[in-house]
C-alpha cells in the first residue's frame, strides 16, 4: 500500500514519463510502460548500474553507488539502486 502510494506520487510529478521497478535479476516487477520497452530498459539499465556500481567500488572500496543520472537530449533517466531492487524513473526535465 505504501509502495503504491510512493510510486503514484512519483508518477504524478511534473515531467515524469515512466516509472519502472526491477529486481536483482533484471525482471521488471512494476512498470508504467509497455512490455517490450520495459524489458529493453530493464536489461540495459541493469547492466549499466552493475557496471557503475563496480566502478565506484573499484576506485574506492569504501565508496558505493547511491544514485545514477543519465541526461540525454530528450529525457533524463534516473536510477536509484538498492541491494536487491532498482527504481528507474524517466523524466522530461523542464527547460
Amino acid at each position: 500500500a505504501e509502495v503504491e502510494e510512493t510510486l503514484k506520487r512519483i508518477q504524478a510529478h511534473r515531467g515524469v514519463v515512466a516509472t519502472i521497478v526491477i529486481n536483482a535479476e533484471g525482471i521488471p516487477v512494476r512498470t508504467t510502460l509497455d512490455n517490450s520497452t520495459t524489458v529493453q530498459y530493464a536489461g540495459l539499465l541493469h547492466q549499466l548500474t552493475m557496471k557503475a556500481r563496480s566502478t565506484v567500488r573499484d576506485i574506492d572500496p569504501q565508496n558505493e553507488l547511491t544514485f545514477l543520472r543519465i541526461r540525454s537530449k530528450k529525457h533524463e533517466i534516473m536510477v536509484a539502486p538498492d541491494k536487491e531492487y532498482l527504481l528507474i524513473v524517466i523524466q522530461n526535465p523542464c527547460e
Partner: protein, 618 residues
Amino acid sequence: MEIIYVYTRKRSEFGRPCNFSDRPAKVSVDIPPDPSMASGFILRNPVDSYVQHTSDMSEHEVNTERVEVESRGVNHVEGGWPKDINPQEVEQTIRFRKKVEKDENYINSIVHLGSLMEHCVKQNNAINIYEEYFEEEEVAEVEDEPPSAKTINVISKLTSFFDVLLSKRDPNVTKRTATHLSWHPDTCKKLAVAYSSLEFQQNMKDMSFDSYIWDLENPNKPELVLKPSSPLVSLEYNPKDSHVLVGGCYNGQMAYWDTRKGGLPVEVSAVEVSHRDPVYGAIWLQSKTGTECFSASTDGQVLWWDIRKLSEPTETLVLDITRKGLLENALGAITLEFEPTLPTKFMVGTEQGIVIACNRKAKTPAEKITSTYSGHHGPVYALARNPFYPKIFLTVGDWTARIWSEETKESPIMWTKYHLSYLTDGCWSTVRPAVFFTTRSDGTLDVWDFLFKQNDPSLSLKVCDEPLSSLRLQDNGCIIGCGSKLGTVTLLEISSGLCTLQRNEKMLATAMFERETKREKILEARHREMRLKERARSEAQETEVEERPVESPQEVLDRARKEFFEVIEAELQRRARAETQHLHGKVKGRVGEEAAAQGEESQLPKDKEEEEEEKDAA
C-alpha cells in the same frame, strides 16, 4: 716455394667412371721452422686482447594476425526469469510479480528509494541544472590553440593479402606510387586512388595494374578494384554522376568506369588517337550531358573527349607556345586545371616550368593559347585556382610554391622560400581563402596560412618517411588525403582553427592579394620602362660603345661564389647550433646538412642566372 699439383688424363680416358680408393695420409710438403726468420719479428708484451661477456641475443619479429571484424546483430529475448516460470505465460509472470510485491524487503527498499528519487525529480523540476549561462560571450573567443592535425586513417595498399591472390608467381609485391586521389563527390566517404609506377622503365612483370576505390570505414579491403589495361596515373570522379570515373593510363589511353558495372573499364580510348605519354591530368568538364572531359600529357597535347565515344577525341590542342602548332616545339603537360565557374578557360602546367593559360573557345588554334607564365625551375607539379578569388592561382614545382595573379604575367605575386626538398603537390583550402597545403618529397605536409605568416608554414607535419606524391582536400575542408611513393594513403584531419573562416579573413585576404598584385604591376611597369629606355639609348648610340664599369664574367662568377659560400657557412653554423640542442638530432642533422648542401649547390647556377638578369635589366 711453390706447391703445385698437376692432374693429367689421357683424352681417351675422359668420361670414364671414377674409381675411388682409399689410401693412408701422405705428407706432401713439410716446412720446418726457420729460426733465422725470427729476427724479422718483434716480441710484444703485453698484448691487448678483448673479451666480451654478454648473453646471446637473437632478433625475432612477431606480427599478430589482423582480426577480421564483421558487423552482426543480436536479438535480445526476455530473460532473467527463474527456471520454473515461463516468460510467455502471462499468468505465471503476474503471479511471480505479486509474490515479489508482498515481500517486506521490497516494501522497505521501495519506500526508501522512492524518497531519494522524489528529491531528484523535484530538483529537476525546480531548476535546470545544466543551463547555459553566458552563451553569447563564447563566440568572441579567439582561437589561440596551436594548429595541429591528427591522422585519422592510414590506408596502405593491402599488398600482402590482396595481391598475392592476383599474382601467384611472385610472392614479393612491388610497391607503386599513389599518384592521384579523388574524393567521392557526394558522400566524401570514398576515395579513389590511382596507383602506378612513375619511374621510367621500371615496370616489373608482376606489378599489378589495379587501382582501388577505398571506403573509409574499411581500410583493409578496397571497396572496388579497377582493372585497366595499363596502370592509371590519374583518376577523377565525375562531379555530376558519382558512379562514373575517368582515368588516364600510363600508356596514354583514357578509360572510363561505371562503379555499378564493376572493375573493368566500360570503354577505353583507341591507342592510335590517344596520348603518347602517360596522361598526367584528366578533368571533367561542365557540360549539359556531363560526359565531357579533357586530358593532358607530357607528349604536349591536350585532348578533349566525350566518354560516350572514346574512339577519337573531339578536339585537340598542341601546347606550342610559339603558337605554330608544331608538336616538336610542344611543352609536355604535367598538370591541368579547370574551374567550373570559368568554363572556357583552363590552365596547363608544363614540365619546363611554364604555366600556359588557354581559352577553349578561340577561333584559331594559334589564339587558343592566351598567355604564359614562367617562373619555375622545374616541372609544375600542381596548379590550382583559389576557390574564392579565381584570378589568383597557386603553382607548385621545384622547391617552392608560388602564387600568381592572372594579370601579372612576368612574375608571381607571392612565393614561399626555397625548401630543402622538392614540392610535389599542392592545393588551396576550400574554406579559408589564404590557406593552402603542399607536400614535399621528404614526406612532409605543410599547411601555409599566408595571412598569418609567409616565411614558414603554419604547420609542418611529417607524414611518412618516403616522398609524398599527391594531395587532395575533401570538400568540407577538414580532411586531407595524401598518397606516398610506396602506395600508402594517409588521411589527416586538421584542427578546426585551420579550417574555419575567421572574422575578417575574407576582407584581409582580398586586401593582401590586391596589394601584392599592385606591387607586381608597378614593378613590371618599371621594368618595361627601363627596357624601353635601354633600347632607345642603344639605338641612338649604335656606333659608340659605352664605357661602363662592367664586371667581367670572371668577376661575376667569383662574386657569386663568394656569396654562395657565405650563405652555406651561415647555414652550417645555424645547423651546428641546432644539433647541439637536440639529443638525437645527430644523425638527422647530418643528413639534413647533406641535403642542404645539395639543395644549395644546385641553387648556384640559378643565383648566377638571376644576377646576370639583374645586370641586364640595370
